[in-house]
Every structure is written in C-alpha cells, then in structure tokens.
Symmetry: C2
Subunit: 314 residues, 2 copies
Amino acid sequence: MSELISPITLLDDHGFWRRLFVKREDLLPKYFGGNKVRILASIFSEIDIQDITRVVSFGSRHSNHIRVLAAMMLERDIPCDLIILDDESKKSLAEGNELLATLYNANIHFCPSNEAHEYIDSHLCNLKKQGEKALFIPGGGHTVDGANGYVLAVDEIIDQTRGLDIDCIFLPTGTGTTQAGLIFGSKLRNWNVKIIGVTVARSPERCKKEIRSLLNELNKRYYTQFFFNDDDMEVVDNSEKPYGAIDKDIVDTIRAVAKSDGIVLDPIYNAKTFWKTERMIKDKEYSSCKNILYLNTGGTPNIFTKNFSEALRQ
Amino acid sequence: MSELISPITLLDDHGFWRRLFVKREDLLPKYFGGNKVRILASIFSEIDIQDITRVVSFGSRHSNHIRVLAAMMLERDIPCDLIILDDESKKSLAEGNELLATLYNANIHFCPSNEAHEYIDSHLCNLKKQGEKALFIPGGGHTVDGANGYVLAVDEIIDQTRGLDIDCIFLPTGTGTTQAGLIFGSKLRNWNVKIIGVTVARSPERCKKEIRSLLNELNKRYYTQFFFNDDDMEVVDNSEKPYGAIDKDIVDTIRAVAKSDGIVLDPIYNAKTFWKTERMIKDKEYSSCKNILYLNTGGTPNIFTKNFSEALRQ
C-alpha cells in the first residue's frame, strides 16, 4: 500500500476563504484513483484470499466502488460479480465506471434497487450451492476495514500539511466510510481538525448513524475507548442536489474549478459537494475554518456519460 | 510550470525484460494529464497572450491536444475554436476528449479531413476580417516551443531515475514533438539514452522528417550545433495497428496492464504502443536495453467512447 499516495495542491483564491487545499485522491496512481482505492486496498490487506473463489458486491451505476473492486479482483484472478442497482442501465452501452468494470472482466448483473436485498441473498445462496466460496463486500466498501484505509491516510495528510494549519476537512459523504476513518484517525493522532461531510445520497441522520457504528468498531479494533460526541460527526445536508442528478450548478462548478485550478471534479460526488462547500463558506458558515482541506474523492469516469454529455447541451 | 511533475513507477515483471519503469504523464495533475499538458504549457509560457482575442487549432476526435488546449484557454479567458477533422462525429453526442473540450467552452467545428487546410485558412481569414487577433496553434502542439516542454522534462526524468541506469525510452510518436524534445534534451544533458518512438498515425519516414526539422529549430533556439544522425531518430513502424482502430490486441493489452500494474492505458496511443513494445522485447529486439522507461503519454478520456465500449463486447 506504500505506493498509494496522492498529492495535495493549494487552490487558487476562490474569493471566500483564506486558503483552500485539495487532497487529490483522484490522482491515486491505480485503477483511475479515488477514495475507493484506499478503502478496498485496506479491506483486502486484511483478508486471506486463498480460499475465496468469487467476490460479490453491488452499487449504483455511478459507483466508483464497483470499478475499483473489479480492477482489484482482476489483479488477484478472482471472478467478480457486480450487481448494479438500476434496471435501466442494462439497456444501454456500458459507460463510465460500468465500462471499466466490464473491461476488468467483472460479471455485471442488473437489478432494480428495491429488489436488491432479495437478489443478492439469492445470488449468494446459489453460489454456495455450486460449491463457490464467495466473499461478499458491502456496497461502497462500507466496513471497518474499509474505514481503516482513511484512519491510515490521516498520517499521510498530517505529513503533507505540516505548517499549513489545516483546521477543517470537507468531503462528500455517501456511506460514511471515508469520514469515519478520518474522524477516528485524527482522534488517534490527536490532530485537532474538524471533519465535515456533505451528503451525496443519504440523510445526515442516516450518515451519522453509520459513522457512529464504524467509530465504535474502530474503537474495538484499536483497543481504544475514544468518546465521540455529535459535534465530532458533522454531516451537512445537501439533499437539494439529489444523487445522480446533474444540473446547471454542477456543470458550472466543474467548469469553474477546471478554469481556476485545472482540476476535473466528477459530477456525482465532488462537484455537488464542492458547490455546497463554496456556498457555505460564502454564507460565512464555519467561519472559524481558515485553512480548509477539500478531500477530492475522485470519480472522474462519471464525467464520461450520456447524462453528463446531455447536461452540457442545456 | 513547477507543478507539472508526474511520478515514475516500476512495473511488475512482464517476463521479457529486466526492468520496466513507467513515466506516468497520465497523472500530470491538470486537465486530465498527458503529454499535451507539458507541450501546451511550454507553448503558452513563450507567448504574450495580451493581444490575442482568439485561439484556433485542430485535431482528430481522439486528440488529447484539443482537450488540453480548450482547458488552458478557458483558464486564460480566451475563446477557442477547435476544428475536429471528422465529419461523422458531429452527428453523435460528444464523448471522450470532445466532451471535455465542450465542457471547457471550446467552439467545436467539424470538417472532413481532406478539406482541413481550406477550412482552417478560410476560418482564420474570416476571423481577421472580423477584427479578431487569432493565434493558430498547429495540431498536436507540433512546434519548437511545444517540443521544448520535453527538452525541459528530461531534467525531471534524469532527477527521478538516478541510479536506475535507464538505457532507453519507448513512447508513442504521432507528430514527433515529444520525441524531438526528449532527443534534444538528452543530448543537451549529455545523457546517453536511446529514444525509441513507435508510430501511432504517420509513417516512420514522415515522423523522422518532422523530428529532424524540430531538432534543427531546437539547435537554433539553444544556440547549439548538435549533430543528429539517423540512429538518434529511432522510429518503429506500427502501421499494422491503424490510427483509431481498436482491436482485440488493444483491449487485451489494456486489460493486462490494468491486471499487472493497475495502470489504465488509452486505446488510441499507448495501448498499441505498449503492445508493440512488448512484442519487440519478446522478439529480442533492442536487446541491449536492460532498463526501459516507457513514457505513458496519457489520453485516458479515449477509453470512454462508444467505439471502445463496443470493442469490449466482441
């Protein structure tokens, strides 16, 4: 895992804050980068894969997790079944993350979102009957081992930001895995930094519940008894930008950050989070945060989709 | 330009050579990376853009050059006209590099390849009549200033490869700009390394002619009188893989390098060059080369196209 390092760059003055740095997880050097690279590398560093004959997971068609998992299973010569929770996608040519997962030899299944639970159970059951030893990876790599990828990343961030006085980190929060890792890691290193997640798919309450559960598990894993109160789990509601919808604000944000800093934000996770972050700073929220680190969690394959191309025409 | 640094990684043992390193130009941190980032940054570092009201260039629909130029003009607030030499593309939704150029606000024109010269002349003439001060950038950034981007990159490569005894560099050669820069830069630094271009679009003879012409111009620019013989301009014919065509070898190579090293090669420039490089090494050509640097010139947006997605189905 030592190769998994990403650079940090100082952004152009966006007008509203003192200094904004970006942790470029999009530049992690494997499988097209992004936070799922750290999360899944962390998960597989804990697993003895010798007896596993098959890996199963699921995600939306925008899921970076499915792409990275497919690549890592290709690397390990383990067949990989990916269940995409969208019955519409199967009708069209693979694009974005799904295209890469196909390239990486994953077996793609489709299933309507509301039948996911049943479908996965039945698929795992069938595999068992066929004598397969299948490993199920929760969507997004949402596990304590996954979160540990970001516990460890805190050391890298501390190293890279010495002297920069980073006082808060903004990031997109989907399943809460990345945020939980950062919260626990900064507590473990006694690093006084506020970790602020911005929702991309679930409600703040749901995210906080997931984060609290992961923090409890991390406490067990590290034999620690850290106490986390509600203030430690800051999650901002961004439900006005629904998951997967690409509107003018998102296109404008991607274009603006390309213009100011040459960085390509993805339309599903980071453009909307960056848009919200800018708005909050403009509205003088979190005014005590003077040196902000934005964690760009990657996902650029989601640029290259029919939806995004059509959104550009509007 | 100091931020424009890319990492070098050692590849997994591909079986045929002693050691293979990759210079990851695909990870250059701006505009989706690739060699055109260095080439165009070098060109614009030499130009006083104050009086320029418009920039005009052209390329194929796979062109990384048009994507990077569009981004750099967005950054500088200069309107950018890009002429895509393919009359078919305009009928379909923008994808890959064209999608990004559209996002970056470039004005995309289409014209059949055989009418390019006339079209560009007439377009530049019209702009002049309208009082515009238009700057024309040759396709691919094929200029002495562009090549100078890779003269300068040689210092970075020497720094990064100290002790590795690199004896040759393989790279895709389209217009010859990158290769000319590397040849001149290594001569300038008295670095004894063989630079081997593999054709992606033009014949070896055409490439060598272009390279020789750039080397002459670089001699003038640096007030040097280096002599280059034919051996200094090694260009390998790879015309059995025609420009833009995606066959099974290309898909297999992309998959194999993803599997062995997690690197995503593009289907238009690097996968076919890497395929050819592997074959040559397997056939014991260039047997004196023991420590090889492969220059991955980027271009990953070309993965996300209908053509590539369809090639995966075969």
